[in-house]
Amino acid sequence: MGGSSRITRDQVRHVAALARLSFTAEEEKRLELELSAILSYVEKLNELDTASIEPTAQVGEAGTPFRDDQVTNQPDPEAMLANAPAREGRFFRVPRIIE
């Protein structure tokens, strides 16, 4: 399979739509190539035989680190809103959402 992985123009548009991004035809063409190249690179992993290996999403130690159910954060809305690209009073302001 190596190197043969292809992302189609439609897949680029689908992923872009999911992320609410819009691209020019030029950009779509470029992304098609770049995403295909990335996939081909990662596909190298498929050369390994993983038939006898459990799917692993985590390599941390066993056991779940829990927190106790305590309120430990002091409210600081000014600091939290400081990085907002746009704000209105105590709210984060975003372009109007329809439904």
């Binding site: 999911l18 609410r20 999403a57 305590q70 939290m80 709210f91 975003v94 959402i97």
Partner: protein
């Protein structure tokens, strides 16, 4: 429903878990705080932060799972559900997908008549975080992230429900369960209990499922019932007209009581789930599971069964246990009484009447159960009549005064003094010599008249049982 059709209904309930802090950070979950008061870099999805799981949320999820007869997964995982929306600051929601914390299980709906309880099987129960809240304006939308990261339990039923009333019954049972378990406060008006409904219809007897519509975000039992009723009729109408039902996501319009398709249906449902790399698998070791199991409170079904063995009817037990607060109130009221059934009746009629009329919570609407118990003890002891107690109770609800003081103040104390009652009876019988003769001649029906006259003579405060006894004796004497 139109003959020849059957509705197939499955419910997805989101219940907010009753924790002090959020699912993955130490922000408060308090309702009604000013916008963006309870937020931090974790629940705002700032780069570089890491979620740490709230132990209490896990314990509550397991509690609910045990109560619903689920299989509790000793090993489950969190997953990222990716979608783009301004109220979701990370661009994904941490949820569970492939390996939820609870699988299978069921909820039995209490039977109204004598028939067997209806069983609704569950697919799964899983943990996830809530999103923020959008306020839509004309030019911009505003986002408040106080809810972002609040722990939710998603409870998914199999499509075992066949009618709108059965769906409501399921939700009521689930609500009671969550309240008994202290797992959620189930405040629908505050959004801590919301419901999505999947509805399809098919020809009766058919085993294949019809095309379903999903109705999103219903937040009252009444809306659930109306929305399902409307949707069933709409789908049958489509089929009868020879059209097909299309798979759609609908919203319920409570003003017009109709469902309508969401406008944003072009929004692709492509959530690209994958295991959350920031959280290790959720391990629930045996000892922790056992600890939670041991701490389980008595559940509604168990309480219902106990009430029935204590002499209440199935109906009474069902009404009282629907709400844990009401059941607790009943038990505390009945604790000092000989007759539990009279306490049950009192709670179901007098107490619920005041609660319904005032629209206030149990704690605020009526006297404490101890005080109500004292009032009922006075009825049992003959100090006050049942009707007198009803008047006293109304007054107690207004004044917060104690039972004894209220009964005395309103002059409701019942006369149980034999001598006084005998004297009044003598007076009445002397004044009604003609009727006494008729009674003794066989007009038994006059007995009630004499009782009435004696009660009247005593200002309605005589103990009716004693009046009956004394009159019987006196009328018998001269016969």
């Amino acid at each position: 429903m139109t003959a020849g059709y059957e509705a197939v209904i499955g419910l997805e309930v989101h219940a907010q878990l009753l924790t002090r802090s959020k699912l993955f950070c130490g922000c408060s979950t308090a309702f009604g705080a000013p916008a963006n008061e309870n937020v931090c870099p974790v629940c705002l999805g700032m780069p570089g932060v890491l979620p740490v799981l709230n132990r209490r949320a896990v314990e509550l999820a397991v509690r609910v799972g045990l109560a619903a007869h689920c299989e509790i997964a000793q090993h489950s995982i969190f997953a990222r559900k990716s979608y783009f929306y301004p109220d979701l600051p990370k661009g994904y929601q941490i949820s569970q997908y492939e390996l939820p914390v609870c699988r299978g299980g069921f909820i039995d709906l209490p039977a109204d008549g004598g028939e067997a309880p209806q069983r609704v099987r569950l697919v799964r129960i899983h943990l996830e975080e809530d999103a923020g809240k959008n306020i839509h304006g004309a030019e911009a939308s505003l986002v408040d992230f106080n809810r972002s990261g609040v722990p939710l339990l998603e409870i998914v039923s199999e499509p075992d429900i066949r009618s709108a009333p059965a769906a409501v019954s399921y939700l009521q049972e689930l609500r009671a369960l969550l309240l008994y378990l202290d797992a959620s406060d189930v405040r629908m008006e505050e959004g801590s209990f919301r419901c999505d409904v999947n509805v399809s219809v098919r020809r009766a007897g058919s085993e294949t499922l019809g095309v379903k519509a999903e109705i999103k975000n219903l937040n009252s039992f009444r809306f659930v019932e109306k929305a399902i009723g409307y949707e069933i009729a709409r789908q049958i109408g489509e089929l009868e007209a020879g059209r097909r039902v299309s798979q759609e996501t609908m919203l319920f319009d409570p003003e017009r009581e109709v469902t309508r398709p969401m406008r944003s249906k072009e929004l692709a449902h492509d959530y690209r789930y994958f295991p959350e790399p920031d959280l290790p698998p959720l391990e629930i070791p045996g000892p922790l599971l056992e600890e939670i199991r041991v701490a389980m409170p008595e559940l509604p079904a168990e309480r219902r069964a106990r009430y029935v063995t204590e002499g209440l009817s199935g109906y009474e037990a069902a009404v009282l246990t629907r709400d844990r607060g009401l059941a607790d109130y009943y038990e505390a009221t009945a604790s000092g009484l000989r007759n539990r059934k009279s306490a049950a009746n009192w709670v179901m009629t007098e107490v619920l009447r005041v609660v319904n009329e005032t629209g206030r919570s149990l704690a605020k609407a009526v006297p404490s159960p101890a005080e109500t118990g004292r009032l009922l003890a006075m009825v049992e002891g003959g100090t006050v009549s049942l009707n007198g107690a009803k008047n006293a109770f109304q007054a107690m609800c207004r004044t917060q005064q104690g039972a004894e003081a209220t009964v005395a103040e309103l002059g409701l104390t019942q006369v149980s003094d034999d001598a006084k009652i005998a004297e009044a009876c003598d007076r009445v019988l002397a004044a009604e010599a003609q009727r006494v003769a008729e009674y003794r001649g066989g007009r038994d029906k006059l007995f009630g008249f004499f009782v009435g006259q004696v009660m009247k003579a005593m200002g309605g405060r005589a103990n009716p049982r004693l009046v009956n006894e004394v009159l019987k004796r006196k009328l018998g004497e001269g016969a």
